[in-house]
């Protein structure tokens, strides 16, 4: 089997490439590093106590010296979210408060105007441009003041009227529990899938351009048919992509990340299926177009366009996760260019009906058959055209001829 000889070489040569080793081992380390660093810095700044000044023009509010407040950016009541101590300092006028803010004696201050009770508006000043505003820290104090003579239970309810526990039922009536981790899982999975598909098909593309550039292609074609060459390359580099996915998944499993970020077995199974289909689809397109390219740079540009198209589901991820049953999400699951990533995203928040899955897979498989047939012809014609890049008209002519 000449295809297997080619596959073996592609696998062994590319597994030693620096790009592969970096993508496989460096990337998870880099990503984990970035996640850890951003978490670490958030915790550090969030943990710091705040000193907030206030100028009460109504003269009717009583501020405590300090209050413990949950981080106002968090919508969920999570123990992981830090609580911070806020110290309140009273100022008699705007100028003094402003001077202290500029001296950085305080982190910010608010002005409660005389007509506050009618308008509800307050003004706040701070030096930072981040999401945190001094006004966020005074809401509860104002509520406590306004409801001074009301029972503490009612005060608490007004401050926090909805403590929700949301359930989703599947078709059998079972409760499906979803935490924030369940969203990170599919996101990571689809990102990894995209990475694996494009690492492998990128190697395929650059390998073909290299073989054209250094002219070995003619020697190869005197021994194997273009189809054997293409099949061998797709098998070899596909195995490499599977190995990459396996390494990533086992690293995730080994470090316990998989326990925190639960990736359900079903998602993994569907992920592997879509990796194979998506990879063959993109690889055959890249091979055909790569055979028309004359330099590696040209090849990379071609690859870039397709990477962008395949990334569409990740770009519009929120729309898919919020409405996984919408016509938009269904359409993206059927279009072969976007279906692999879309289906992964949808399966984790929604039970994609079997007929939609079937339709998506059938369309993808049919597209693969069509592209492999078309592209292996283009591949055959493109391989021996060198020196000159075909014009768009010549490419159309080639496509018509095949």
């Amino acid at each position: 089997m000449k295809e297997l000889e080619i596959a073996k070489r592609e696998f062994l040569v590319n597994i030693r490439r620096k790009e592969f080793l970096f993508a496989t081992f460096g990337l998870p380390v880099l990503m984990a590093g970035i996640m850890f660093a951003s978490f670490f810095f958030t915790m550090q700044t969030a943990d710091r106590d705040r000193t907030i000044g206030y100028v009460d023009m109504t003269g009717s509010f009583e501020f405590p010296d300090a209050s413990i407040q949950a981080d106002s950016r968090a919508n969920v009541d999570s123990p992981a979210m830090p609580q911070k101590k806020v110290k309140f300092v009273e100022y008699m006028d705007n100028e003094t408060a402003r001077r202290d803010l500029l001296n950085r004696t305080i982190d910010g201050y608010v002005i409660i105007p005389q007509d506050y009770m009618n308008t509800g508006s307050i003004i706040s000043y701070s030096l930072n441009s981040g999401l945190e505003r001094p006004s966020m820290f005074v809401g509860n104090v104002l509520v406590e003041n306004i409801l001074r003579n009301t029972s503490p239970v009612i005060v608490e309810r007004v401050k926090n009227p909805v403590v929700a526990t949301d359930y989703r039922l599947d078709e059998t009536g079972e409760i499906v529990t979803k935490g924030i981790g369940d969203y990170i899982g599919p996101f990571l999975m689809s990102l990894l899938l995209a990475f694996a598909i494009f690492t492998s098909s990128g190697f395929l593309l650059s390998g073909i351009v290299e073989e054209k550039e250094n002219r070995i292609i003619e020697v190869l074609l005197s021994s194997v048919t273009p189809r054997q060459l293409l099949t061998g390359k797709i098998i070899g580099l596909g195995s490499l992509g599977l190995l990459q996915l396996a390494i990533w998944l086992s690293v995730a499993g080994g470090t316990g990340l998989a326990l925190v970020v639960l990736i359900p077995l079903k998602t993994v199974a569907i992920g592997l299926l879509y990796f194979l289909l998506g990879y063959i689809f993109y690889a055959s397109i890249m091979a055909g177009l790569g055979s028309l390219a004359t330099t590696n740079r040209e090849g990379q540009q071609v690859a870039g366009i397709f990477t962008l198209i395949a990334m569409v589901p990740i770009i519009v991820m929120m729309a898919i996760l919020e409405a996984p049953e919408s016509a938009f999400s269904v359409a993206l699951s059927i279009i072969p260019f976007t279906s692999p990533m879309t289906v992964i995203l949808r399966t984790t928040v929604y039970d994609v009906p079997w007929y939609e899955l079937a339709a998506s897979i059938i369309v993808l498989v049919l597209s693969i058959i069509a592209t492999v047939l078309l592209m292996s012809r283009v591949f055959r014609m493109g391989l021996l055209m060198y020196g000159k890049r075909p014009t768009i008209f010549e490419i159309i002519k080639i496509l018509r001829q095949v």
Binding site: K2, E5, I6, R9, V13, E211, N214, R215, I216, I217, E218, V219, L220, L221, S222, S223, V224, L384
Partner: protein, 290 residues
């Protein structure tokens, strides 16, 4: 026994005919030369013989499978990052060759061309001449019955040219058929049993070296004392230094001319000269161009 039969083959690119209505036959066990100036269509013809390109019309009958064929393309290329022996073995495996025999063959050939110390070196570490020798070995490492070499001597120094020539002769002695293209006429003259000369995609000469040469008038260089009278078969004499060039009438046999000359003057030297392939080549190309 026919190794390859070509019948009325044509090939055009973008409406320009590169090979036009060519017919010829390559016999088993011979070295067959395809000669022609640059751009004559040699490479396109060889690519059709090896089945990389399909002819637009005509027929090519191959009595060798692709696996039993070795090919050295004009545009040389190897994987730069691969080691020499690894590269040779990979190409042999694509020909479905027996691993052990291919290994023996590769080592034997590397030794022949003085590269046995380079088996574990990467291709990119070799000089251009060395890489070219590796490429020639790659074409024959699986011991093919048919060897197709496109300009095997281009870019080689005289020492390496001789090495490659010896390798080609070795393949012939082992029973392989060799087709080679070249524009170096002296190499073709030394190596080839039969020739096809093409220009602008068309055959201008075809046959054995003797057949081809006999189609061209021979010239005789003679030195003699005295003035000969009329000699039958002699068109004219041209003085060349101390000697004379005797231009014979078309198709005339030089032997009777010598006999007549000897009877009339004292002959010191009489040499029949065939035109060299180079002269024929230049003449044909110039005629075609005119």
């Amino acid at each position: 026994m026919t190794a390859i039969g070509v019948e009325g083959v044509s090939k055009a690119f973008n409406g320009v005919t590169v090979v036009g209505d060519l017919s010829f036959e390559v016999h088993k066990g011979e070295i067959f030369g395809i000669l022609g100036p640059n751009g004559a269509g040699k490479t396109t013809l060889l690519r059709m013989l090896i089945d990389i390109l399909n002819p637009d019309s005509g027929k090519i009958i191959r009595n060798y499978t692709n696996d039993d064929t070795g090919y050295l393309p004009e545009e040389r290329g190897l994987y730069k990052k691969m080691k020499v022996l690894e590269m040779l073995m990979y190409l042999a495996s694509l020909k479905g060759a027996d691993r052990r025999r291919a290994l023996e063959n590769a080592e034997k050939h590397l030794e022949m061309v003085g590269l046995s110390g380079y088996a574990d070196k990467k291709i990119e570490e070799l000089s251009k001449g060395m890489a070219q020798k590796v490429q020639v070995i790659a074409a024959m490492v699986h011991n093919p019955g048919l060897l197709i070499l496109d300009e095997p001597f281009s870019g080689l120094d005289p020492v390496n040219t001789k090495l490659v020539k010896d390798m080609v002769m070795g393949m012939k002695e082992a029973g392989s058929t060799v087709i080679l293209s070249t524009h170096m006429m002296n190499q073709a003259e030394e190596l080839c049993d039969r020739l096809l000369m093409i220009n602008k995609g068309k055959a201008v000469l075809y046959g054995s070296l003797d057949e081809i040469k006999s189609k061209f008038e021979r010239s005789v260089v003679a030195e003699y004392e005295g003035e000969p009278g009329h000699i039958k078969g002699l068109e004219r004499t041209v003085k060349r230094g101390a000697a004379f060039e005797l231009v014979l009438e078309n198709g005339a046999d030089p032997n009777p001319v010598l006999a007549q000359l000897v009877s009339q003057v004292r002959v010191k030297k009489f040499e029949v000269a065939y035109p060299s392939l180079n002269d024929i080549f230049v003449r044909m190309v110039e005629n075609e161009g005119a």
